[in-house]
Symmetry: D2
Subunit: 334 residues, 4 copies
């Protein structure tokens, strides 16, 4: 039994998922693709033996498609997810679930009304071996009660189109989800501090930023986001508990010593750092669908992350601590 997957969006991450689904995932194939860039979509479709549709809706309605991966621009996600729910098709959407709280709520309502979990959001860090070990260490009680979390998220160079608002919404959103999950908690407030800007980024860009999140139980999660850090792709996370701490280590396979220096390489980009996490994410999603279940980060997680990220944009603009307000969590997601 092979799972036939339709993919909407064949950009950077879409192509990455398509090639993995086509060549490295047992029990799945790519059945159909769509992209505004029709030529790229057609070539990619041919290379993996899939159809190329001229309308994204066709990917969802195609009877040869069992499940959908959404990797189109973020503001289109909610619409496609809703269409998938309407057709009772499981959907793995890249983050964000939605770019507005309202859109997120529409997805929640639709899935709750549908009565069966179909939606998974692409927060792949939950599938990273390091984050999993951090969570297990917390859950085993090894570090006592979590009090504080220090996160660092650095990229070598941001794309030209990056805006100051995208640091919270496109980058920190990963830490928002990961720490919600690690702590099993929701955020109640956010503040964004604006340090001296790097001279190596565009003038208009507030880079780096220091985002300070507070859970309802006053655990503080601080995130340094720095998208033009030059030196490499570096993601760190230390959870400080009452009896100890647990930290992500940067994966490294070798060290080289020469010229009076012992060095370990730092990942070049998110693909190098999180390739294993993406593989596990997709692999477990496919295996789960074969078993009839969806167990990854759900629509509620996606909604909450969007609300926190958007509140952080407000905080960035206002310079003020900003309260975060979520709707009551539907029991469906308990």
């Amino acid at each position: 039994m092979v799972l036939n997957v339709g993919v909407i969006g064949t950009g950077n991450i879409g192509t990455y998922h398509i090639n993995r689904l086509a060549g490295q995932i047992s029990g799945a194939r790519v059945a159909a693709v769509y992209d505004l860039a029709t030529e790229r979509a057609a070539q990619l479709a041919e290379s993996v033996g899939a159809k190329a549709h001229s309308d994204p809706a066709e990917v969802i309605t195609d009877d040869d498609v069992d499940a959908v991966v959404v990797t189109s621009p973020g503001d289109t996600h909610a619409e496609f997810i809703l269409a998938c729910i309407a057709r009772d098709k499981p959907v793995l959407s890249e983050k964000p679930l939605a770019t507005t709280a309202d859109d997120g709520l529409r997805v929640l309502d639709a899935e709750v009304a549908h009565g069966r979990r179909l939606v998974q959001v692409g927060f792949m860090r939950r599938f990273d071996a390091g984050y999993r070990r951090v969570k297990a260490t917390i859950d085993e009680g090894t570090i006592g009660t979590p009090l504080l979390v220090h996160c660092v998220h650095r990229n070598p160079i941001a794309p030209d189109f990056f805006t100051s608002e995208m640091l919270p919404t496109d980058s920190v959103v990963h830490e928002i989800d990961a720490t919600r999950w690690l702590l099993g908690a929701e955020f109640a407030a956010t503040t964004v501090l604006t340090p001296r800007r790097t001279p190596l980024g565009p003038d208009r860009l507030q880079d780096p930023q220091l985002v300070i999140l507070e859970t309802t139980e006053s655990v503080i999660v601080e995130v340094e986001i720095f998208v033009n850090a030059q030196y490499g792709y570096d993601v760190r996370c230390e959870v400080v508990g009452s009896e100890g701490t647990v930290e992500l280590e940067t994966p490294t396979s070798t060290s080289v010593t020469r010229d009076f220096l012992r060095g370990r390489s730092v990942p070049a980009d998110w693909k190098e750092r999180f390739d294993g996490a993406f593989h596990t994410e997709i692999s477990q999603w496919v295996d789960g669908l074969h078993a009839g279940t969806v167990t990854g980060p759900n629509a509620w997680d996606g909604y909450a992350a969007t609300v926190v990220a958007n509140a952080s944009v407000d905080a960035l603009r206002s310079g003020q601590r900003t309260a975060i307000s979520l709707v009551d969590k539907p029991s469906f997601y308990a």
Copy 2:
């Protein structure tokens, strides 16, 4: 197109390969299995939708089998490999290729006569991200000319049936192959030193041992093999060059600090340490067969490793430096 794989041997490693081929490798399935333990083989076959044969030869001759994985006891490998060559079927044999030089030569002769590469030996370390990075670092000239290699190979506890001779043949054989490959060289002599025995192993077992290998160009490779080291599974390798060194790092994803100690976990066993290497090995083998090629460690590598391991057993018994003599390498393997 799915590659139908037959597996001879359903013990520990056989089961490990079968589950991976059945559930995690795109483009392959398990079509047939055999084991002396017929009940275990039947259950495993059923769980992955394969046939269970009552004779290993049937796995090879089965028309529904495109390629064979051999994971039976080491002294049966050569026979099954020869049968695969006779049927023109690609075969991935767990190490060793053969337990005697003569058997290894029979395989070489058969494959050369056949005229097309069919045989790959399961030296999975060549597919480990760390070893690959070590090799790339050497090949890029970063450390200058290699002069010395320090290897450590420690297991927590050896199985009851382990003998002193198995330390070279079953354990060090991995370092023999890996360093031949890293250095692009053959070994010319071997010496085995016998340190004080661990009180935590059986009296009859010389554990640890220090195996000293010399290449034809006098690069020294020393291997500490210690199969009852208790504390974990630990594989290390440092290549010392004229301008610097490169070392494997033990993979770790987190560190935990408590009780005045900052600690990183050490792998529990070879599956934890080399799971990724095994995955890459099998995955690339399957992808290669789809493309009509076999590119992993070949029969010559298997033959050479067997000769060096057996010479090391002689060296262990005699206490003397022992010369290693290989036949001329067939141009087929150049």
Copy 3:
């Protein structure tokens, strides 16, 4: 020529300095001591061949005393320092220089009026090999322009008398001075965030705290201070620049591997962590006095640290970002 040192205060740190001055520092001896606890002072004096005075002023006026070390309670420092200036005697005062800005200003005024540097404040981290290397790395331009600094300061267990206000004034004051020095900058604002309290400290104590300092050029220095962290004494500092980062490493001399864990010890307390820094501090102070100079952290540094620490106490109480205002820096300290 031996420098005769008088020491006011024979508590924990006083005794520590006295024993070092008496036994490990070439070119110095302890000539006189004073403590309210007269018996302890007398015993200590006898053990190092010093006089024990019954009045702290006598230590300063004693003609056999060339220079004074002040290790009495913090609120007495300014008075003793002023007395030393009045007698033209060099004085090394433990931090703080003063507990109020006014007292600090009186010291500044007195020293400026005196016209010759006599005062050094005991910010020993400036003499730690790690902090020195961090500063050198910044100054060499290796990391580009500093933008952010992440500091961690953890103690295993705080003394019973520790109050929430002492986290900024007694602990973070070290980071305040060290980062002023690393960055060559003054602070303009401070905010203190109050995470969930550790259940392992007293209820009345806000522990940990997150102190956010901003320099006049908007470099953000954040300091996690956690005085009941249980697991060890841990001081970390990462300076994030536009082209790279430099971090303190926890000094460690060995690692031990057993029970599936590779571990490095974490220092037990500040004496273990900073013993070398204290040694260098005292040793260079003595050497400097033999050469007729005082070059360590000066009265301005002490004044600035007091103002920033006190503003942080205000910020802790108010929950608000609090502006920091220093007097104009006398050209004497340029």
Copy 4:
């Protein structure tokens, strides 16, 4: 009371000791010096307020000299040590105690006849924080029974006068002493393996070498000595026990991350790596003499190290495993 020290030899290491004794060691001064290079000796003497003698014997017989440090060429050590014993003066001799076993025995006999310990040999590694922690870890039973020791000793570049024989006698002698001390054991045999030579050293020099030492209880100590390793000064030591291992860590105070590399500096030379060990060595020697005792590595340690080093030279020349034979250890050294 100040200890008046006479120093014979004002070369590199002599000057290093003189400056430390004169400026950094409490309770000691340099009273007299001698060197064949009389001008250098005179200048150095003047700079530290010492006499410069024209004959080394005068340093020893000088009534103003309480104790002697010998840092002249190795083959003169025994003679000066014997002269010190004859005058009942404590002597700290740089390694080696003697260059021949016979000279070593003459020192042993003289000290035993004298009846009081006067001789300490400058094996400073015993005073290094890391080696001390390794020894404590072994002695506490943390790693079980020691079975094997892996040592690495690398210098960036050897002086022009270095010969192949000096690798054992001048470099490995440090590991010989350190591991005798760590294990509390004597060596019974030595073998020297000769890997491919580095192209970056002189043709006549066998560099690196692999020295394999065996204790009377069959613990194997292997030492890679590589004196033109280019990249830095690197000393490593891992003691492998039946239940775990303990390793020296290279001291480092910071790490720097830039250009996709996280790096720690490697020491430039032995002064940087072992400055603290030399300081502790001299400081404890002076403190001990004030208390009337000599407790560091003794003449027996010096004799044993010389015999093992010389046997290793024999082993290097012969290519054979060479037995080591020590005289019975005088009960005086028990």
